[in-house]
């Protein structure tokens, strides 16, 4: 504990900008020297994609090499640059503090995206992992609206996701591609990227309308019963799609145009986080919490509980639909089996691992479960022992998840750290 405390103390003076600079240095080192020098001299076959986890698990001999790579490329440059640069990043952050908060946040996010793009761009697998992680973030935050903020145990999210994925896929296949089911493209494919947001919104709207099937029963039942109803909804959607041959049935649907590059997904993820953050911190959004904690009291305090429940479901489902649409266009193939009980388990794991009633928690949960899932892939079967074990321990020691009941405080996150304050780890 002593070392961790000391470490925290040393790095508490580093502002967000400092960390960005540190990570940027690491990414640049990897970009220019990662393959030619560092991994070559360490005897690694190629640049380790996910911090060497895959190599380490596949060939234990490589463990020292991979660890050394992480140390040389990531740990040392990040810490060193972050600490040293705090001499000028702190005044920089203080300068940004004078700007309106939103402008400062946008500048930080642009920097963050640039770094992420550079890091992911090193190899295609990384791009895919980052894309799927971002989609998972949207999904997890949206489930949190229903399962965390509103406190219902809803199992219908894969169903909402499927509705979004299928509706948006049908639209893009019909409009922008020459498909064997839907015939020639109705619009020039060049319009695709511009109309894609509308297509996604249509998918989200379809999911929101579908969610009424769960929202209306939620007026009368809660807890276990609603869980069963929502589970039923998920299976209804799945088997309905399986039996609709016009959209491919159980074989699925492929050939969606690749309309979801990294910047697009990043933008939608940010939009989702921003909108949901605004909502849950407003009084209308806090109404979800009142319904969860004491519905009778909420009614007596003029809260329209029915409207609130319906809003929570439709809003959560809307974002699940968006996530589904993005997911379909990342993989450019979907089938009903993707939106079944496995997906549900994954989504719920991310939400409950990360933390209920917290957007930060959801982001942490989505990123960690996704990255962990990818990193442990070589273990095959044992992966499904390790991840649940981690979940069990989280549930024992932190019953509401890692980071629960906390909201993003952008101001505190981005401010200059002249005085001693808790650092944000890279």
């Amino acid at each position: 504990m002593g070392i961790a405390k000391k470490f925290r103390q040393i790095f508490s003076t580093v502002p967000m900008l400092g960390w960005f600079l540190g990570i940027l240095t690491a990414v640049l080192i990897e970009y220019y020297w990662g393959y030619d020098y560092i991994s070559y001299y360490l005897g690694l076959p190629k640049i380790p994609v996910l911090f060497g986890a895959l190599i380490m698990l596949k060939e234990p001999v490589m463990i020292p090499g991979a660890l050394a790579y992480d140390l040389i490329v990531y740990v040392i440059p990040v810490l060193l640059v972050a600490k040293i640069s705090s001499v000028f990043t702190n005044p920089g952050a203080a300068l940004l503090e004078k700007l309106p908060l939103w402008l400062s946040a946008v500048i930080h996010l642009v920097c963050f995206y640039a770094i992420l793009h550079l890091w992911a761009g090193i190899n295609d697998y990384r791009v895919l992992v980052v894309k799927l992680t971002l989609v998972s973030i949207i999904l997890t935050v949206s489930v949190n609206v229903i399962n965390g903020y509103q406190g219902e145990f809803s199992c219908s999210h894969p169903g909402f996701m499927a509705l979004g994925a299928y509706v948006s896929s049908i639209l893009t296949l019909m409009l922008f591609t020459n498909d064997k089911i839907f015939g020639a493209a109705l619009l020039p494919p060049g319009l695709g990227p511009f109309l894609f947001p509308l297509v996604l919104l249509a998918g989200g709207a379809a999911a929101a309308i579908g969610s009424l099937a769960v929202a209306i029963p939620s007026f009368r039942t809660r807890g276990d019963y609603l869980a069963i109803i929502s589970l039923a909804f998920m299976f209804i959607v799945k088997s309905a799609i399986e039996n609709l041959n016009i959209i491919g049935g159980a074989r699925g649907m492929g050939g969606q145009p690749d309309l979801a590059p990294l910047p697009v997904i990043f933008f939608w993820t940010l939009l989702c986080i921003w909108v949901i953050h605004n909502f849950v911190t407003s009084i209308l959004g806090k109404a979800l919490n009142t319904v969860r904690d004491d519905e009778a009291a909420a009614e007596s305090m003029t809260v329209k509980t029915r409207k609130t429940k319906m809003t929570a479901f439709m809003f959560g489902a809307f974002w699940a639909g968006i996530a589904g649409g993005l997911f379909a266009h990342v993989l450019t193939y979907i089938n009903p089996g993707m939106f079944s009980i496995n997906r549900l388990a994954e989504i719920l794991a991310m939400v409950y691992f990360g933390g209920l009633n917290s957007i930060v928690g959801s982001i942490v949960g989505a990123v960690s479960i996704n990255v962990l899932g990818e990193a442990l892939r070589p273990l095959e079967l044992f992966k499904w022992i390790i991840i649940p074990l981690i979940l069990i321990f989280v549930m024992i020691f932190r019953p509401y998840g890692l980071i629960s009941f906390t909201e993003i405080n952008a101001k505190k996150l981005l401010e200059a750290k002249h005085k001693r304050q808790q650092g944000v780890s890279p």
Binding site: V275, F279, I283, L284, D293, A298, M301, T302
Partner: protein, 257 residues
């Protein structure tokens, strides 16, 4: 009719059980009215019937001459009927200031999309609410707890949070369901002072259920005694205190033989 809240011949059955029978109430503006009665007499049921938690089987309920029978609880509350609960009904994962903010729900009109995109109207109204909440917290002496979770507060303070929350809905009539239940004598005195102050500052009529005679006698202008769902006596406190039927209901009949 000058009554702010008028209840006429209200009767309610739970299945075959007649919980309330022919209940009448005329609450004038600014009046403090007490409802007493032994356990199980139906006092809280009457509160729940008037506030819309249950819909009475028979009878009329008028708030400012508007019929409120059959409306949803939140509509009735928004029309000016605030209440507190017998067993505290606070939101356990929420801090104090959010409780007070939440109770302004019906006074907001920025709409869902305003909330999603943090519109100007949304920010302005939320700031207004925040100011109002600060004012209320100061009045009820809970501003030092503003950012604490309600569950971490002392009992008396939790009661005050509930009162402040009820006042934030901007009520014309305030229903208090045993506001001093479980309080120490010190807290009781403080509560009496707070209720008096609320009555003066907010210009509300107060309808309260209470067990402690001292409290009722000190505050109420008029009292009803309820036994088995029926009002057996109504009048000023001194009269009720000496009414033989009330004494009988509370202490039992004296054996005269």
């Amino acid at each position: 009719m000058t009554a702010l809240l008028h209840v006429e011949n209200m009767t309610h059955f739970f299945g075959g059980l007649r919980a309330v029978h022919n209940y009448n109430l005329n609450l004038a503006p600014r009046q403090i009215f007490g409802l007493i009665g032994p356990n199980g007499a139906g006092k809280t049921t009457i509160f729940n019937l008037i506030t819309g938690v249950y819909t009475p089987t028979e009878g009329e309920i008028l708030l400012e001459n508007k019929n409120i029978k059959g409306l949803e609880t939140n509509q009735i509350a928004a029309m000016g009927l605030g209440r507190t609960f017998q067993n505290l009904a606070l939101w356990r994962h929420m801090n104090v200031v959010d409780h007070i903010r939440m109770a302004h729900y019906s006074q907001l009109d920025y709409g869902l999309f305003g909330a999603f995109f943090n519109s100007r109207a949304c920010r302005e109204q939320e700031n207004q609410v925040r100011e109002n909440a600060d004012h209320l917290m100061e009045l009820f002496d809970i501003e030092k707890y503003a950012d604490d979770l309600v569950t971490s507060l002392p009992y008396g303070a939790q009661r005050r949070v509930e009162m402040a929350r009820a006042m934030a809905t901007n009520p014309k009539v305030l229903f208090l369901d045993e506001p001093t239940a479980g309080m120490t004598p010190d807290e009781l005195v403080k509560m009496i002072r707070i209720i008096r102050q609320v009555h003066q500052d907010f210009n509300v009529a107060i309808f309260l259920i209470e067990h402690r005679m001292k409290f009722v006698m000190e505050l109420c202008e008029s009292i009803q005694t309820l036994v088995f769902g029926e009002v057996i006596a109504e009048g000023p406190p001194e009269e009720i205190q000496n009414n033989p039927r009330v004494i009988e209901a509370y202490l039992g009949k004296e054996d005269m033989t």
